[in-house]
């Protein structure tokens, strides 16, 4: 089987400060991995580096995605190859309607894959269906992208984009934060419904509660920029109970 994502000996620094240290992580097709770690452990750095954001210095290591060197690609190429980042803090883009933004993104993805754009009717049907699943009212689709959205509305909107673009690797960066209990369930269940043998996920979270609804295959404990321990879902339970102290000394 073709290798999916393979992070090898990755070290990353920002302004000379080392953030990720010799990280190794393999994700196979269809697998869901969770990364748990305390604040400031470098979790968000990892998601930004995977997505190709500027400002990070890769000091060593490689990232192979579908056996290609991911670091050779621009952020938009990575996105079109199937990497999706659900942002922790989605930005506002004034004057651009939500629905137009999603349509533009989807067309860009489809063009890259050599597909024709969806017919307007089909697109509308699809987005309405997904929005309903996430409890997003239709008028929010017509609003300007993230402008004046509450924290929870922004996160639901990230989930909507994820479901519309159907990426092969979804990275969820603290997608559960900012959601109240009910919204949390709706969003988590909707994302969980996208689970398939072709789609992988990397879930970055502080809390175990998200992992109760999106059950991971493997949980990694991430401390000081590297994985200190990996295991099954039970690892998340232990962290929930005892915190990160045991892992910090390793």
């Amino acid at each position: 089987m073709k290798e999916f994502l393979n992070i090898k000996n990755l070290s990353v620094s920002v302004d000379e400060k080392s953030i990720i240290n010799n990280l190794n992580l393999k994700i196979n097709k269809g697998e869901i991995h969770a990364i748990m770690g305390p604040n400031g452990s470098g979790k968000s750095t990892l998601s930004n580096v995977l997505a190709g954001k500027n400002g990070y210095n890769i000091t060593s290591g490689d990232i192979l995605f579908c056996e290609e060197n991911l670091l050779d690609f621009s952020p938009d190429e990575r996105a079109n190859k199937g990497i999706f980042l659900a942002f922790q803090y989605p930005v506002e883009i004034p004057g651009v309607t939500n629905i137009n933004f999603i349509k533009t993104a989807l067309e860009s993805n489809r063009e890259f894959q050599g597909l024709d754009p969806l017919k307007p009717g089909d697109f509308l049907k699809l987005i309405k269906e997904k929005a309903e699943l996430l409890g997003i009212p239709e008028d929010r689709l017509k609003r300007q992208l993230n402008v004046g959205f509450s924290g929870g509305e922004k996160k639901r909107n990230e989930a909507l984009q994820l479901m519309m673009l159907n990426p092969s690797l979804a990275i969820l960066d603290e997608t559960d934060s900012g959601l109240d209990v009910d919204a949390f369930k709706v969003v988590a269940d909707a994302i969980n419904s996208t689970r398939s043998k072709d789609n992988s996920m990397l879930i970055i979270t502080h809390y175990q509660r998200l992992l109760e609804r999106i059950q991971p295959d493997i949980v990694h404990v991430f401390v000081n920029g590297s994985i200190t321990e990996s295991g099954g879902p039970e690892l998340a339970n232990e962290i929930e109970k005892n915190g990160y102290e045991r892992f910090s000394n390793g």
Binding site: P75, D76, I93, G95
Partner: protein, 482 residues
């Protein structure tokens, strides 16, 4: 697996100026230079009546006593007015019965520009009065307009066919003595468009004119006059592109609008003249005087413009709010790239009671360009209960460009309210990354963000123009993020 693994560079995006081609047509030139004889030559070429020749000559004499204005922020080498041609016309002079009689090369040029007259006639329902160099070569939809009594023709034609209307309104909004460039235009104007909407008529279609500078070294001195009689309505669209050229081209157009009681004029412009190359070489000098007169009570004039071209833009479409309850609007997007210089804005002169004006200006600067909004809001003592709202937003894309907002506000009565808001911001890395993470390349991301920034103005444009304007914004900003 895709082969396109190499990083895209700016070079991959930078097309040479898309419309930079020149049509080979013999032009009928007046000799180079400017003097009374040239003014007479132009007037004679157009078989003008004596009163108009006298009017031109008076303007010429006035012009000789005037000095080029230097108060704006634009800088350029001195213009040698004797080193320019003041008249050029396509050679074919016989009357044109239909588009089939038009020089096929002209039609081909229009096609390259995406202005298929024939298709527009039938599909878009837009009457096009195409100005090629200085003489109109084809006018469409005249019959339909005639049914409603709407006059839409070339300026020269109007002088001969409707002399009373021309005489009554010409120079009443922008007098021949108004300013250096308007006065020059009054002396040597070549052709342009004339519109008259009779009382109570809503013009059945959007009127549109495409301007195009062609013959080498020819200054363009268009003259447009739009009159909306009582309770009438008209929407007029003006769009321009120009071929590539190394030497600077002077353009000094004059547009006069008159709105009588209860009338409304909507005047939209998309301007894409050659801006010069990446080093700032070449490009059009655009010194335009545009002014609308809300002469009657309850009248309204609205200017909407998208300006992406020209090496130098010096342009302040204005409204004189003479009638009580009249209103003026100015919606503008000005893009400057490379070494372009923009000094543009508006003047809202409130004279009547309960007059209102609204100004929304969006400036986008990139490259090494400079982009200034200069606007005057003047509320006179008799303009009781008047109000103005002004919003000026600037977006900067690089570190080497500049943006400035220079408002002049005068209010001579205490019942009126003037509001001014201004912002300037740099395009944010976070926004760019967000868009790119969704699969848009950098160019697309910039285009999307800029279009969002300009949305308030874009939505004021008639539909067919809005689409064109969005395309133009994207083309103008290609390879522009540093």
């Amino acid at each position: 697996m895709s082969d396109s693994q190499e990083k895209l560079t700016e070079k991959d995006f930078k097309d040479p100026y898309e419309y930079g081609f020149e049509t080979e047509i013999d032009s009928d030139f007046a000799p180079k230079g400017l003097n009374e004889e040239i003014v007479k030559f132009i007037s004679n070429k157009k078989n003008e009546p004596k009163w108009l020749l006298d009017w031109r000559l008076a303007a010429y004499k006035k012009w000789l006593t005037m000095a080029e204005p230097n108060w704006s922020s634009v800088r350029y080498p001195a213009i040698d007015y004797q080193d320019s041609y003041y008249y050029a016309a396509p050679k074919k002079t016989e009357k044109i019965e239909s588009l089939d009689d038009v020089d096929p090369k002209l039609l081909e040029t229009y096609n390259k520009l995406g202005i298929p007259l024939k298709e527009q006639e039938w599909l878009a329902g837009v009457a096009v009065d195409a100005v090629f160099d200085s003489v109109s070569v084809g006018t469409t939809f005249k019959e339909r307009l005639k049914e409603d009594g709407v006059i839409f023709c070339s300026f020269s034609e109007a002088v001969n066919e409707y002399p009373d209307l021309v005489k009554k309104y010409l120079g009443t909004v922008i007098p021949t003595t108004d300013n250096y460039f308007a006065t020059l235009n009054s002396a040597v104007f070549s052709d342009g468009s004339f519109v008259y909407i009779p009382p109570g008529v809503k013009c059945p279609m959007e009127l549109s004119t495409y301007f195009r500078i062609n013959a080498a070294g020819t200054g363009q001195f268009e003259r447009t006059l739009v009159i909306a009689d009582k309770d009438s309505y008209v929407s007029y669209l003006e769009g321009c592109t120009a071929p590539m050229r190394d030497e600077h081209q002077l353009h000094a157009a004059v547009v006069e609008l008159v709105a009588l009681e209860g009338a409304e004029i909507k005047y939209s412009t998309v301007q894409n003249w050659y801006p010069g190359d990446e080093e700032g070489k070449g490009g059009v000098y655009n010194f335009v005087t545009k002014r609308g007169d809300c002469r009657g009570d309850n009248s309204k004039i609205s200017w909407t413009q998208v300006e992406t071209g020209s090496a130098i833009t010096w342009k302040y479409p204005s409204c004189i709010l003479k009638g009580n309850n009249s209103s003026g609007e100015f919606y503008s997007i000005a893009v400057s790239n490379n070494y372009q210089q923009v000094d543009s804005g508006t003047k809202m002169i409130h004279l009547g009671k309960n007059t209102s004006s609204r100004i929304i200006s969006k400036g986008i600067s990139t490259g090494n360009s400079s982009n200034a909004y200069r606007g005057l809001v003047s509320i006179h003592s008799k303009a009781k209960n008047s109000r103005n709202f002004t919003q000026c937003d600037s977006l900067l894309l690089t570190d080497n460009c500049s943006a400035s907002t220079i408002p002049y506000i005068q209010s001579k009565n205490i019942d009126s309210i003037v509001e001014h808001e201004a912002t300037s911001s740099k395009i944010s890395e976070e926004q760019l990354f967000y868009c790119q993470q969704r699969g848009l390349d950098e160019e697309e991301a910039v285009s999307l963000i800029v279009n969002g920034f300009c949305k308030d103005v874009l939505q004021k444009l008639p539909m067919e123009f809005a689409v064109e304007a969005q395309k133009l914004l994207s083309v103008s900003l290609e390879g522009s993020v540093g």
